[in-house]
């Protein structure tokens, strides 16, 4: 690990000014950043510790819930407002990492969680995300955990977050403050696919700080479910996960949300699956059509073709679970 300066920020403006200098990084829970610093995958020269900023609240504001960026994953998962209005989010959070890590990890940090791609994490090997232009060994190499959706010829690394998959299904909005002022960006527009520049993962500008996340309360969000399939029963990243929400009237699906994790280069929203559901009668036959629609554009590699079938089945089961709630 290279030497770095460390500064404790007490106000957002001060933090943003500090973080706007080159090679600077915010530090919140540290569970991703310190891990990657130990591996020399990232080497910031200045760390701005934002843990003392007043961004750790969860409150209901009219028809949405505002979640501060420094709320710990465990606190959010067990918060009464989240359990009441967004069961899918609580389930997603509790399926991620371990209790210790959830006590450390923040909402803002989780939004910026980095991929678990083996090649990204190993500095002795090329990686276009870590070193632009160096190549992607995953495409021809070991790619069992890699993406079948949203990949490019430069990168097929998956987004590892569970929380973000639920937030995609809940139409969350990310509130940012930066050198240019405040901005609110819908989560689907926050992440970018790797394309020719896998090193760019989102639309955050240098120095910009995530302050909070707004989650709209809707009839949709209550009837929701997160299903995660992984290699062991607990404490593992998703091979495939789905966050689904449906609004049903007299057996007919009025609106639907389908988010996918473990299979895509960013927290994935499948509009194709949603379109396959709306206007149809609830039930397995409909859900199967949604599963088929979700993987229509999927591109499998040598070791991850199983994810295509698994994704379809996870979507069906998650929808059945969501239907059974309320």
């Amino acid at each position: 690990m290279i030497p770095f300066t460390y500064k404790r920020a007490t106000e957002s403006a001060e933090a943003i000014a500090s973080a706007s200098t080159p090679h600077s990084s915010y530090l919140a829970g540290g569970t991703t950043l310190i891990d990657l610093m130990k591996l020399n995958v990232v080497s910031p020269e200045n760390l701005i510790d934002i843990n003392k900023l007043s961004l750790a609240g969860v409150e209901k504001k009219g028809d949405f819930v505002l979640v501060g960026a420094l709320v710990k994953n465990s606190d959010l998962a067990h918060h009464p407002l989240i359990i009441e209005h967004f069961p899918v989010l609580s389930q997603a959070l509790l399926s991620g990492a371990s209790p210790q890590l959830r006590n450390m990890a923040s909402v803002g940090g989780n939004l910026l969680q980095r991929t678990r791609c083996y090649y990204f994490r190993d500095t002795t090997l090329p990686c276009n995300k870590r070193e632009p232009g160096s190549g992607c060994p995953a495409i021809e190499g070991h790619n069992r955990i890699h993406a079948i959706l949203g990949g490019s010829e430069k990168c097929i690394a998956t987004s590892p977050s569970d929380m973000c998959v639920a937030l995609v299904a809940l139409d969350a909005v990310i509130n940012i403050v930066g050198p240019g002022g405040k901005k609110s960006i819908p989560i689907v527009d926050f992440y970018v696919e790797p394309g020719d520049h896998p090193e760019i993962e989102n639309v955050l500008e240098p120095g910009a700080l995530i302050e909070s996340v707004s989650i709209p309360i809707s009839r949709l969000s209550k009837r929701s479910h997160y299903l995660k399939v992984r290699d062991r029963a607990s404490y593992a990243f998703a091979l495939v996960s789905a966050a689904v929400a449906i609004e049903v009237e007299e057996g007919i699906i009025k609106s639907a949300r389908v988010g996918l994790g473990g299979v895509a280069t960013k927290p994935w929203r499948s509009k194709e699956a949603e379109e396959a559901l709306v206007g149809k009668r609830v039930g397995r036959d409909t859900y199967k059509l949604a599963g088929e629609a979700a993987v229509k554009g999927a591109k499998a590699h040598e070791h991850n073709a199983f994810k295509v079938e698994l994704t379809k089945r996870v979507i069906v089961r998650a929808l059945e679970k969501a239907e059974a709630t309320v």
């Binding site: 690990m1 030497p3 770095f4 300066t5 460390y6 404790r8 530090l27 540290g30 569970t31 310190i34 891990d35 130990k38 760390l47 510790d49 843990n51 465990s74 067990h78 990492a97 371990s98 209790p99 210790q100 890590l101 006590n103 450390m104 029963a233 607990s234 404490y235």
Partner: protein, 201 residues
């Protein structure tokens, strides 16, 4: 001849060497032509070093520390609290688990300087004098370990679990303890020990 030196003695020497600018000078001064057994870098002479103040097991500490030093390394190498173990050093095994302000965390994934004003409890601070904490006694009663390396982390994790939301069943305990790995496979006995203390055995 390899120079032999105890860990405790090394730490004393390392602290005494704070006046020396570099580790290299320390080595030279320490033993001509012999490399000392380096267990931890001399951290407090680094350019970016800064002060941090916190409480560990009820004792106040003000320390000057390189910001790269993790809470785990500081506890073990500077405060000589070697009960917290370094397994994976990446938050995957739980051997380094301690309580910070009553909540269990992986001390390996946290820089010491982040803990200004915090109240930290390690395995050394769990017993009440010679009287073991109920979890420590339960681990003995149920033979909740074999080699013992993961045990401090298991017990501190269980101590954190006591004030968290967790269902009553053994399966719930296994889920709530999934951040602690035991290579000996003492899991059934660990679960039994925790359940006894929770009153669900």
């Amino acid at each position: 001849m390899r120079l032999k030196i105890s860990r405790r003695r090394f730490n004393e020497l390392a602290m005494a060497s704070a006046g020396l600018a570099t580790l290299g000078e320390f080595s030279k001064a320490f033993a001509q032509g012999e490399q000392p057994l380096i267990i931890a870098p001399v951290t407090d002479s680094a350019v970016n070093a800064m002060h941090v103040h916190f409480k560990v097991n009820g004792t106040e500490h003000t320390l000057r520390v390189d910001p790269r030093v993790t809470l785990l390394d500081l506890l073990r190498n500077k405060l000589d609290l070697t009960g917290s173990k370094k397994g994976c050093d990446h938050g995957q095994c739980g051997a380094c688990t301690v309580l910070v302000n009553g909540r269990r965390v992986n001390s390996c994934l946290s820089f010491a300087v982040m803990h200004e004003g915090d109240d930290i409890t390690t395995i050394e601070g769990l017993a009440n004098g010679e009287v073991l904490h109920p979890l420590q006694q339960a681990f003995i009663n149920h033979d909740g370990f074999q080699c013992g390396y993961c045990t401090p982390g298991q017990i501190m994790s269980a101590a954190g679990l006591m004030s968290e939301v967790c269902g009553k069943a053994d399966a719930d305990v296994r889920e709530c303890m999934s951040g602690n790995i035991c290579r000996c496979g003492a899991y059934p006995n660990i679960v039994a020990a925790i359940q006894e203390v929770r009153g669900h055995s």
